[in-house]
Amino acid sequence: MSNFDFSTTLGNAFFNTPIFTASGCASSGKELAQFFPLNEIGAVVTKSVMNKPRYGRPTPRMAETPSGMLNSIGLQGPGIDAFLAKDVPWLVEQKSRVIVSIAGETVEEYATLARKVRSVPGISALEVNISCPNVENRGLVFACDPDASRRVIDGVRRTIGGEIPIIAKLSPDVTNLPAIAQGVVDAGADGLALINTVLGMVINLDSMRPHLGGKTGGLSGPAIRPVAVRAIYQVHAAMPQVPILGMGGVSSGRDALELILAGASGVSVGTASFGNPHAVIEIQRELQELLIAKGFPTLKSAIGYAHREEGQ
C-alpha cells in the first residue's frame, strides 16, 4: 500500500497526495493542526485573502440546510501583507505544501496580490478566486462574466511568469461553464478549481426575512456534490489536458473518487471539516484504500476514468 503512487500534479506543482483543504474551510491551517499533521495531506489551500484587511459581512453568517449549509462570510481576513508575513511562514515551518488563494475587487487588485505572493518562498500554487458569491455587488463575481474572468487571469499571468501554477476558481452559477473555463485557460490559467459554492438563500420563518445578514450565501456540503461532479465532468470533457482541482461536498473517500473519475487531478475537502476536524486525513486514507481496491495502479490512472469510451 505504501508503494502506491498517490502523487498528483497541478501544472508544474507536484503533490504527494491529491487531497487538499478547500479555501475558506481551513482558515490558514493553525486550527486544524491539533487534529492531524498538515504535512501529511497534499496541500493546505488557505482562505482567500484580499489586499487590505477586511471585516466581512454581518452576522448571522451561517444557516444549515438539508445536507449542506449556506455561508456569507464575505472574505473576512487580515489582508495580504499580514497573511504573507505570519501565516505562510508558519505553514512552511510545518513542512506543509501551501496553495495561496487570493480574491480582489478589481483586476488591478488581483495583479497586486499576485505580485506580493510571487515574492514569498514556499508557495506551491496560486488559486485565483474569481467566484466568491459573498461580495456586496454580484456584478463583482468575475467568474460569471467571460470577459472579466479573462482580464483577471491575464493580469495575474503578466505578473506571474510560470514560477508557480495559476489555478482559477470558477463558479457553477453560469450557463456555459466550459466557455468560461476555456477563456481563463486561454488567458493563462494553468489549472481550474471547480466548484465554488452555489448561490442560495434561506428565509427565517420567525422574522419572515432572509436569515443571513448578507441575505444571500454560498451553498456547500453534500447537497452540491452532484453539481461539482457535473461541472468537473463537463470541463474535463472539453479540455482534458487542463488539470482540475475538484471540490464540492466531498465528505468521504468515495466522494473524492467520484470527482477524480469525473476528471479532477486533486480534491479539496471543505465543509466536511466543519463537521469532522479529521475529515481531510480520513478522506485521504479512504481514497487511497478505494483506489487500490478498484485496481488502479496509480492515482493518475483514475483521473477522468469516467470519460473512457464504451467497452473500455
Binding site: 474551510c25 438539508p66 476536524p277
Partner: protein
C-alpha cells in the same frame, strides 16, 4: 504547533446517563482523562443525527461540569434544551449510546488568584456552566452569589446540589411563576454601585449579556461573559461565529466566538455592532 484548539480531542464518548430535569435533559458523557483539560466556560461540539443524517454540522453545548469518580472515570455533564432537531436527537440518546464529540473547545472563565466577591448571572439553561464555575471559585475562597432568570419558572435550571456551591441564590422570572417577578439584571446595578461585587460571570442570551455590560460599563467590575453565536465548526475554521470586539490598541476586530470565546470580556464586545458590518476597514 499552534496554541489554537490545544487540548481538544475528537472521540466517541459513551452516554452514561440521560435524565429529564424540568424542561431540560441532564446528559452525562464518559470522557476519561480528558476531564483534566476541561475548564469552566469550555464547550463541546457534538455530531448529531447519526451517520446518515442530513445535519452536517456539529452542535455546540456549554460544559456544565466535569467530575471524576471511581466507577465512571472522567465524566462531562451537559444541560440540553431539546429545541431544535439536533438537540432533540441528542436528548433521545439513551444510556450506552456513543456520541462523536470534539472537546474541550474555546476559552475558559478566568479564575481570580485572590478571593473576590463573584456574582454569577445565568439566563435560562445558561446557568448550567455556572455551577461548575461556582465550585472552582468557592475552592479559591471567593464569595459566590448567583442570580438566575428566565421567562418562566420551568426554564430555570437550578439543581439542588448546585445550590450548595453558592453563598446565595436568587431567582427571577418574567411571569413571576418562580422566585421574584422581574428580570435577572434588575438587582445588578445596586450591587455594582454598592461595590459588593468585583467580578461578574454571565452566561445566557445575548440581550442579557449586553445589559450587564451596560451596567458595569462605568465601574471597576470585570464582566466575563460566555457569548452565544451560531457556529458551523466550533474550531475556528469557518468564520461564521464572529463578534465585533475592541482590542488593546482600540481597533475593532471580528473575533471568532469559538476560539476567542465563548468567554469574552464584556467591556470589549461592541454590542451595538453585533449583526452589523463595521463600515470602515480595520
Amino acid at each position: 504547533m499552534s496554541e489554537i484548539n490545544r487540548g481538544a480531542s475528537h472521540l466517541l464518548a459513551p452516554v452514561l446517563a440521560n435524565k429529564r430535569v424540568g424542561q431540560y435533559h441532564q446528559i452525562v458523557l464518559g470522557i476519561g482523562d480528558l476531564v483534566k483539560s476541561c475548564r469552566p466556560g469550555n464547550f463541546v461540539a457534538i455530531k448529531v443525527g447519526g451517520d446518515s443524517s442530513r445535519m452536517i454540522l456539529r452542535r455546540a453545548f456549554a460544559i456544565s461540569r466535569v467530575a471524576e469518580s471511581v466507577s465512571f472515570g472522567g465524566t462531562m455533564e451537559l444541560i440540553v434544551a431539546p429545541h431544535g432537531t439536533g438537540s432533540k436527537w441528542l436528548c433521545s440518546q439513551s444510556e450506552g449510546a456513543e456520541v462523536d464529540i470534539v472537546t474541550p473547545l474555546g476559552t475558559a472563565f478566568g479564575i481570580p488568584t485572590q478571593p473576590v466577591n463573584a456574582l454569577l448571572v445565568g439566563g435560562g439553561y445558561g446557568s448550567a456552566p455556572l455551577f461548575g464555575l461556582a465550585e472552582v471559585l468557592k475552592a479559591r475562597g471567593c464569595k459566590v452569589d448567583m442570580l438566575l432568570g428566565a421567562s418562566t419558572g420551568g426554564k430555570i435550571y437550578a439543581p439542588m446540589e448546585g445550590k450548595r456551591s453558592v453563598n446565595s441564590l436568587k431567582i427571577f422570572t418574567e411571569d413571576g411563576s418562580m422566585g421574584e417577578l422581574g428580570r435577572v439584571t434588575e438587582p445588578i446595578l445596586k450591587l455594582v454601585e454598592d461595590k459588593l461585587v468585583d467580578v461578574i460571570y454571565s452566561c445566557g442570551p445575548m440581550g442579557m449579556l449586553r445589559a450587564i455590560s451596560e451596567i458595569t460599563a462605568n465601574s471597576d467590575v470585570v464582566h466575563q461573559c460566555a457569548v452565544e453565536e451560531a457556529m458551523a465548526c466550533g474550531i475556528g475554521i469557518c468564520m461564521t461565529c464572529v463578534l465585533p470586539v475592541r482590542g488593546e490598541s482600540g481597533q475593532i476586530s471580528m473575533l471568532r466566538s469559538c476560539i476567542d470565546g465563548p468567554v469574552m470580556d464584556g467591556a470589549q464586545v461592541q454590542w451595538d455592532l453585533v449583526g452589523q458590518a463595521p463600515e470602515v476597514a480595520p
